[in-house]
Symmetry: C2
Subunit: 213 residues, 2 copies
């Protein structure tokens, strides 16, 4: 949709996409306060007047960018998970999809962190939409007997999302190769270690160490 609410033509869609991609780079490089509509249109190679056919303000393109990144990271996860044989395979594939998207879009973390200040509702929307899908998947796997039925699927979804977020930060965004560039993907050893943790977490223990049920 355009800023005036009219549906976009194919060419309009392409222009809107260019503006969102430029905004992703500008917000990630400069942060919200230093970013400006002029810097975004210059980066996109699009006239300043054209910006206002698609967005009302810097705040609005920021919010649309959160919605867009959120939709795309969920798509990347869902695509990776499709056809998994069981929940544990689906978990691994989903996190690989998440890390792949994060490597290609390091702006994701910065934009979501800034949303805390720029637009708290967008921060909530981002996390809540990811959790909703995650929770539904866990509930289905509990029905199938693949996941410990005693786990609360909502709390578990938040826990796993948090685990993935900090592992992505530490082992992807903080890593640099010999030339000072971030790696294109997270190491297999890290994914293996994470999956040992997740496999344990989602599977009922054999009673060892359970003193508080």
């Amino acid at each position: 949709m355009s800023a005036t609410g009219k549906p976009l033509t194919k060419r309009g869609e392409a222009t809107r996409r260019k503006l969102l991609e430029a905004a992703e780079e500008v917000f990630a490089d400069l942060g919200y306060h230093e970013a400006s509509i002029v810097k975004i249109t210059e980066r996109a190679g699009i006239g300043l007047g054209t910006f206002y056919l698609y967005f009302d303000s810097k705040q609005q393109i920021f919010e649309e960018l959160v919605v867009d990144l959120n939709r795309r990271v969920r798509h990347s996860m869902a695509e990776a998970m499709a056809g998994s044989a069981n929940r544990i395979d689906a978990e691994r594939a989903g996190f690989e999809g998440f890390f792949r998207f994060t490597a290609a879009h390091p702006a994701l973390y910065r934009v979501v962190r800034e949303a805390e200040f720029v637009s708290p509702e967008m921060l909530r929307l981002h996390y809540t939409r990811i959790v909703e899908g995650y929770e539904a998947g866990l509930r289905a796997a509990q029905s199938d007997g693949d996941v410990d039925a005693a786990l609360d699927p909502e709390v578990t979804a938040w826990a796993l999302m948090g685990a993935g977020e900090l592992i992505g930060m530490r082992y992807l965004l903080w890593e640099r190769d010999g030339e000072g560039r971030p790696p294109a993907e997270i190491g297999d050893d890290v994914i293996d270690s994470m999956m040992r943790f997740i496999r344990n977490a989602l599977t009922a223990t054999n009673g060892k160490g359970r003193t508080h049920d």
Copy 2:
């Protein structure tokens, strides 16, 4: 230490503490960009000139605030964990200490998120210091046979810290009571659900669902 590197008197310590407490409130309420040294000294009821006996700049008091909040949240966790009978009890107590501190200091999350932009080294310092202690505790528990020896303690520490961070955000910072105020503590049902997840995660499964070892 004062801004000139001299050790502080007891009275000096109290003044520095007042400035840090005012900074915590001002940065949390206004964010880094809108905050100013004048607003911090006004909130603290301390003269502007006195500020510079303790800190050089807005950036410096922000960084000292991260160090201070980090030290205190770790203290709150360590104090809660002291005397725990086993690792699972220690985990629960540690998270309760973390959530208690977060309820009393909601600035913790906002300040750490802003550090991404204001001072990335401080963001790393915050997470890394928490992980280091966590990892050491997990290694000791693995030696004692309390925690699955096949888990990587570093990756596990990041995963658990991430789980705690997002559960604290969702079930503490986002919650409001009937009068619109955040709760003083996280619900026992949420802690119970989280502990089911953590107990599973740290305890080797009985083989069920492990298709990829």
